[in-house]
Point group: C2
């Protein structure tokens, strides 16, 4: 039951895709997922071309299976530059607490064309993007080069825009999803649409395969996504707590012991709304919310603090991204997780077919 247009096009055994989770992943982790039949994916964020090449080659040494490289579409505007000094002075207070050097603001700088050129040269089989839509020109070049391309939508308008731009598939990111919201057309709040509503509306609106993301943790979620018309699923939190994941142990621990009410949306860490378990940084910075610059400026301002906090095992200032179904997370190896997902999904479909619900 696992073969469909999506698996055939991606060249994978199961339509189970790891969500890109920058900072919680490693080439080893990504390769492990691809090796057991899922699609491993790695976020390259603002890595330069050579860094992207290194990551790709590392994964290649560990798997001969397809994997996906995910990159960020740069923001059109730099919002909130005028508040940088005010916010950085609040950051200085935290740097002192964490015993790290004070740091002047350095504007973020990276080149997406450099990243795409490496993806082209390395002939990566799958590439995806978030925070916007890649120019149709580049989508066409990637596709002609043999790369399957997909983007992320949080509302119907974005899905239609992505389809018209030429992507092969669309990830429909429901409001349940952990990490950054992919919204790029319309307002963030209006695009906080739950998976149960988002997936069928996008499936109805477009003609290309849809991958469901947000709140999917087990076979029940996978079968539900199929029922809603998706051809595959993208899972983040479920993979994050895997034994092999590169997420911080404290981060895993908090997710494994979470409640469904613990996650919240916040733009305090990066300037862009993202879902994670609330901590002291989030709570304290919310009082400065009107000062906080947009993405990626705020992300640049907080980076050294987040990194130092992770090194010091201090969850007060760490990124703790998590989706809304975190109580269903499990501490398993990747192989155990995928095996269970497959059996569970098949059980749900049998249960429905035999009317045992």
């Amino acid at each position: 039951m696992w073969t469909n247009m999506l698996t055939e096009r991606l060249g994978v055994k199961y339509p189970i895709i790891k969500a890109p989770m920058l900072g919680c992943e490693s080439p080893e982790f990504v390769a492990t997922i691809s090796n057991v039949g899922g699609l491993g994916a790695i976020g390259v964020g603002r890595t330069n071309g050579e860094g992207v090449r290194e990551v790709i080659q590392k994964i290649r040494r560990l798997t001969d299976q397809p994997f996906c490289v995910n990159f960020f579409i740069p923001e059109k505007r730099m919002d909130g530059l005028e508040h940088v000094n005010d916010v950085n002075s609040v950051m200085e207070y935290y740097r002192k607490e964490l015993n790290i050097c004070s740091k002047p603001f350095m504007p973020p700088n990276y080149n997406i064309e450099e990243q795409i050129n490496v993806i082209l040269q390395e002939k990566v089989s799958v590439a995806s993007f978030t925070f916007g839509c890649l120019e149709p020109y580049w989508i066409e070049i990637l596709k002609k080069n043999g790369t399957t391309v997909y983007g992320t939508a949080t509302n119907v308008r974005e899905a239609v825009y992505l389809e018209e731009s030429g992507v092969d598939f669309i990830v429909a990111q429901g409001s349940e999803a952990g990490g950054h919201r992919g919204t790029f057309l319309g307002e963030f709040n209006d695009s906080l649409i739950g998976s149960m509503a988002l997936i069928p509306q996008i499936v109805t609106a477009v003609n290309i395969p849809v991958i469901a993301a947000g709140g999917i943790m087990d076979g029940r979620g996978i079968a539900a996504a199929f029922a809603l018309g998706a051809l595959g699923v993208q899972m983040g939190t479920a993979f994050l707590t895997c034994i092999e994941s590169a997420a911080h142990l404290k981060h895993k621990e908090l997710i494994l012991n979470s409640t469904d009410e613990l996650s919240c949306l916040t733009r305090t860490f990066s300037g862009k709304p993202a879902r994670g378990i609330r901590n002291r940084f989030k709570t304290e910075m919310e009082s400065h919310i009107n000062l906080i610059p947009g993405y990626p400026i705020q992300e640049t301002l907080t980076r050294d603090i987040r990194e130092a906090a992770a090194e010091q095992n201090n969850t007060d200032f760490m990124l703790l991204w998590a989706g809304q179904a975190s109580t269903l997370s499990r501490s398993l190896t990747v192989k155990e997780l995928i095996d269970r997902l497959v059996v569970e999904t098949e059980d749900v479909v049998n249960r429905l077919n035999e009317s045992r619900y």
Copy 2:
């Protein structure tokens, strides 16, 4: 495939329950749903005992099938009484625009025990409640009297609390749902959990049947709810646009022509967060949001304005409750809708079983 513990207990053909939608329903509409195999439900809000009895008897004259009476658990506190005069002076401005008399604030007053006593005397087969949990004492009396009782949960904590209080079932209200949020333990924002995440977490946490609500509009949604472990669904928006529904024609029209980004959560109408299509009242009152008293005070302050707006076909000030999957709404008779839901759900289950997804 439509018989399960829930349908047997409710005595209905299909586990498809109409959401209580005070102001958009009539005894005729409720009876029509029960007559074609669903469970009609009517919200009695702050109707007095005799009013509740009249509604029940009207429905009884139109159907011999089970139906549900839904009542509100009174708030423990009256928040924001100190702002009543300020907010009422803003309302006076709108009353003038709508050419209606100025109105002093009258504190809301109703007696839930009076409502429950009528439900007991009339031996209504199903009763449900929202905005809190009925005292276990009353749940036991209702059940002993032959009434099946269910409550609404928006997070796992509420579901466990309801189960421990003795209800027969739980409605899991995902963040996609139109109308008022049922949250009664925890914060509203933390309890905006999408159905894809909420349903399986509640199903895992409790031992009684779960009814899924929020974003379910067609057979895809019903099959997805079953996959997630629910035994039935509660649908509001899908029934609201039915030919027989008592919703305002302008309200139906706006839903039938909506986009997925149009709905928003607002407490401007009633003091309690509710999801609906944004309009002028919502937008203008958001600038006074810190003054707006809690439910039911604000509900009382805005009632004459909402009623006058409906009479005048003025959508600027009307209640326009709608869920997040409103683009999937259809203008059908109740019988056509239920027939289609049944066929669609069976098609989805067959599609999954034959791996045609």
